[in-house]
């Protein structure tokens, strides 16, 4: 007890008053809304910010599976892939053999292929990914922690193999499953009701679209965390056997974690495909799963605000800092490589460093922080501190 309060005391001094966290969140939200007005509509900063926010959604989804429910998912890229392919299938001229148009307007109406409204596509993507999440979850139900990691990894790799080689799978006359390495491009211009079509010439609408998606996902995730289901997830993460004996239905609860996490990943995947205007099989590598995992570990497993921060930081490191700012540093030091080549080595290094030095992440979740600093179940102080 005494050691615990000593360790936590300095943090207590900096703690904000109860209402301030919410006020701060609103302030940051408002700032995020007006942010693009301060930059040129074509600036690289907005481009980076759009990508970063899409990664925030992705990381929030993975956080449900890994952070809340404690199921290490190493195949999260599968949901990126499925979400992106939903856009490729239902929002492009890829299947030129058929003519289906639902709630679309403008030049798209005259193109062959399947063309659905983006909102419909996002819903389909979320649904397909939820389904895939359940399917991926099923074989892992009986397995223990690290086996789950491997099985999800295997699923992610299988989906990648299908994405890469899908151009050799014929599903109907002349139509193939995926575009393979060539990718499916271009996809339809985004058009939402009451708004002008989205173009690559003005990135602000993209930014606001993805920001509103972030707000929706944040709302869903926060409400879920504080719900009965969220508490069940955390109970399973802490101790599966104890949770089961307290009446938490393990199968249903775990599957729901995969379902929710998958659906959120699908939304982000669909958005990214529309934004990048291509669905390319090479995007769906294992390293992307690790990239997203690194975000939530850096931010703090299970901590929603930490995950948002981690995703923004890593996304900027990956898209701006490494390729633009620091790329020539090794060259200046007389080394014959660019820092871009080291991208994933840097993330690997980051994973190791964070895990060894600050396993609770930048903005830790309180429960996990106590666990990591005090050890699980070895000390009554776990209960005392929380009072």
């Amino acid at each position: 007890m005494s050691t615990a309060s000593a360790a936590l005391a300095p943090r207590g001094r900096f703690a904000l008053p109860p209402g301030a966290t919410r006020g701060l969140a609103v302030l940051v939200g408002l700032l995020a809304i007006v942010l693009p007005l301060m930059f040129d509509p074509l600036s690289g900063f907005i481009d980076d910010a759009v990508t970063a926010l899409a990664y925030v959604i992705m990381a929030l989804g993975l956080n449900v599976v890994v952070g809340f429910a404690g199921l290490l998912d190493l195949g999260y890229v599968a949901f990126f892939a499925i979400g992106a392919f939903t856009v490729g299938w239902f929002m492009s001229s890829f299947y030129a053999g058929v003519n289906i148009h639902v709630l679309v307007a403008g030049p798209v109406e005259n193109l062959p292929g399947i063309h659905l409204n983006f909102i419909l596509v996002v819903i389909i993507a979320a649904f397909l990914c939820a389904l895939a999440g359940t399917l991926i979850g099923l074989p892992t139900l009986r397995l223990r922690g690290d086996y789950i990691a491997i099985v999800t990894l295997a699923f992610g790799e299988i989906i990648r193999v299908f994405a890469v080689n899908g151009d050799t799978i014929k599903i109907a006359s002349g139509a193939t499953l995926t575009g393979g390495r060539q990718g499916i491009t271009p996809v339809d211009q985004l058009k939402l009701p009451f708004l002008d079509p989205f173009t690559q010439l003005n990135l602000r609408p993209w930014y606001w679209l993805v920001l509103s998606l972030v707000f929706i996902v944040l709302f869903v995730v926060i409400r879920l965390r504080d719900s009965r289901l969220g508490r069940a997830w955390i109970a399973i993460r802490e101790d599966e056997v104890a949770a089961a004996s307290m009446g938490v239905p393990l199968v249903k609860t775990k599957l729901l974690a995969y379902t929710v996490g998958g659906a959120i990943g699908g939304v982000s995947g669909a958005f990214l495909a529309a934004y990048l205007n291509t669905v390319n099989a090479d995007q769906f590598a294992f390293s992307f799963s690790i990239f997203v995992l690194a975000m939530i570990i850096l931010g703090g497993l299970g901590s929603i605000w930490g995950v948002v921060l981690g995703a923004i930081v890593l996304s900027f490191v990956n898209n701006r800092l490494i390729p633009d700012v620091l790329d020539s540093v090794p060259g200046k030091l007389g080394l014959s490589f660019n820092l871009t080549d080291l991208g994933f080595g840097i993330f690997g290094f980051l994973l190791v460093i964070v895990m060894v030095l600050r396993p609770e992440g930048l903005l830790p979740e309180r429960r996990r922080q106590i666990e990591l600093t005090e050890g699980v179940g070895t000390d009554e102080s776990v209960y005392e501190v929380r009072v």
Binding site: R144, L153, A154, V161, P249, V251, L301, F349, M355
Partner: protein, 357 residues
């Protein structure tokens, strides 16, 4: 499984006896049926078609020699899992570093296609030893830096650092030889036929792979079964706390386990370089997953199981390469991994870990 999942009423209610019987059957024979599916299917296909079974036998021979590489790597996974219950994700990349070391050493000590037979044998032995030492010490170093500080942390923590190290090693490989596959001099004339029995050709690569693997595996199992240190390893795997009380230095024993795993991976790296004659930085990721599948198939923690699993997965991979197409092989192997997890998570022989009891 130790962590038994209590069945929910929703799953349990509509389960009459037939379903239970089917489930019991699937538990017992499901994996074996799944494993036999590929060879039997293609055997029947060959027999009904124009050919005989020689093509299948050829696949199996190539599969066994290929599988001996996976077996060597799988041993590393299974040893480490048996003792600290961690999937050493970086193990595949340690194997990759082994290949790179071997290939680099060929150039350093001047092994080329022009070297005489005696020179090649001696040179390869030197390379083998160096690759083994490098990989062994690398593995021990990784354990010291990335796993030991986290021994009392939640179980996901060391797994995540293992992934981190895997990426670091891949990047080392990327900087070492670049992003595209590099070719290795075909020192042993891997494709040259040695003999042919019943239409099945055995190539030099097959002979070398088996000739290196078999003695290593025998030496290692003997070491673990007979020596004092091996006994300490088994004791630590069974119960680290009790082992510590009995005066065993648990940290040293764990380091030793990583050393042995790394040594095997180094040997596998050399064989792979000679066998495939191309190496690249990403080979470790693929190989690691295949070998892990092998370890799980045999029953993780179980040495014989890892070797058996390696040989089986080698055959599956070879059949898939030859019949379905190389680009689909990863999907096939991973599908097998998932099927094993569904039907028999404890593996063919049964796992020997603390959690398995």
């Amino acid at each position: 499984m130790a962590t038994t999942t209590p069945e929910t009423p929703a799953v349990r209610a509509p389960a009459p006896r037939i379903v239970d019987a089917a489930r019991a059957f699937a538990q017992r024979w499901g994996l074996i049926v799944v494993l036999l599916a590929l060879p039997v299917f293609y055997g029947i296909k060959d027999l009904t078609g124009p050919g005989d079974l020689s093509r299948l036998a050829q696949n199996l021979v190539a599969g066994l020699s290929n599988g001996s590489i996976w077996a060597l790597i799988a041993v590393g996974y299974t040893l480490v899992y048996g003792i600290i219950e961690l999937i050493n994700f970086a193990h595949g990349d340690v194997f990759m570093i082994g290949s790179f070391t071997a290939a680099g050493l060929f150039g350093t000590i001047g092994l080329t296609l022009a070297t005489g037979p005696l020179g090649i044998v001696v040179g390869l032995l030197v390379t083998l030893v160096v690759a083994m030492v490098v990989c062994g010490s690398l593995n021990v170093m990784i354990e010291r830096v990335a796993y030991r500080p986290l021994r009392n942390a939640p179980k996901l923590a060391p797994l995540i650092t293992a992934i981190g190290f895997s990426f670091i090693l891949q990047n080392v490989g990327l900087l070492w030889l670049g992003g595209s596959p590099a070719s290795v001099p075909d020192l042993i004339h891997a494709q040259q036929d040695v003999f042919t029995v019943l239409g099945v050709t055995v190539q030099r690569a097959d002979v070398v792979a088996i000739a290196v693997t078999a003695p290593l595996v025998v030496a290692m199992t003997t070491f673990i079964a007979r020596s004092r240190l091996g006994k300490a390893m088994r004791a630590t795997a069974q119960d680290p706390d009790a082992a510590r009380l009995m005066g065993i230095n648990v940290d040293t024993t764990i380091s030793l386990t990583f050393l042995i795993g790394g040594v095997m991976a180094g040997a596998a790296g050399l064989i792979y370089a000679l066998y495939q004659t191309t190496i690249w930085y990403f080979q470790g990721f693929q190989a690691g997953l295949i070998a892990f599948t092998a370890a799980v198939m045999g029953g993780i923690g179980n040495l014989k199981g890892a070797v058996l699993g390696g040989l089986i997965i080698g055959c599956i991979q070879q059949i898939s390469d030859n019949r379905i197409g190389t680009q689909w092989t990863p999907a096939i192997v991973f599908a097998y991994l998932i099927l094993i997890m569904v039907f028999r998570p404890q593996g063919l022989i049964g796992e020997q870990t603390r959690e398995a009891g």
